[in-house]
Symmetry: C2
Subunit: 125 residues, 2 copies
Amino acid sequence: MRELTRAEEQIMQILWKLKKGFVKDILEHFDEPKPAYNTVSTIVRILQDKGFVTHKAYGRTHEYYPVISKSEYSKSHLKTFVNDYFSNSFEKMVSFFAKEKSISVKEMEEIMKIMETEVKKQKIR
Amino acid sequence: MRELTRAEEQIMQILWKLKKGFVKDILEHFDEPKPAYNTVSTIVRILQDKGFVTHKAYGRTHEYYPVISKSEYSKSHLKTFVNDYFSNSFEKMVSFFAKEKSISVKEMEEIMKIMETEVKKQKIR
DNA sequence: CTTGCATAACTAATTATTTCGTTGTATATT
DNA sequence: AATATACAACGAAATAATTAGTTATGCAAG
């Protein structure tokens, strides 16, 4: 999957939040200083060329939708990261952050609970 | 922490692997088609300006060292990612990937083992 | 010493990304 | 119909990143 550039990612984050939107809706969700209308419009069109969004036309105006979901993109992005920084091992990554105390005890307990459920579920089949 | 660009990251990965190296050593570790010597030299100097590497001079030639470790950088990078894609919750991220089956049962069992140890260790204090 | 080679530093050229002004057109308003 | 408004499309300009040529210098070999 193509990588999003900085500006593209910012707009995708807004679209993922909004689910859909006209350029003017996207623009509203920018913090000050807001970019020019045309800047947003251009980048949305680039995102469309790259296959990240599509649009529905209402006469001459376009309502844009994400085609790639936030989950899909994050999955692909994290995979690359795990591959590059943790020799493709989720385990290495997670245990690194557990040891680094980037994950709280409470979070770890939650994670263990979920994993137990998942392990059981996957072992049944 | 500044983000690494594509070319910069490639060189950092090599330096992290080598621990230290002259430009020519870095160059050797590129796959074909290798970039020009000067391309590598320029980017290493940019990395130095950004504070990612430093050097030890042997007369006129420089041996470069990472100043930011791979761990440090990956920590900062993943934090940004978790913040942007999982509303700053490691738990959300990990359980998403567990449910997606991106983490194998074997890996989950390992992770749970490590977390149990970590939880105990951190609860003692 | 002179020539050749290796290297860092500098700089120019190229390519990618971001930003936004301009244009043309459809639609709404008077 | 004439004018104003809103928008997508286009394109130019600005900025960032990448690539590599050129230059200057030190060192080694003859």
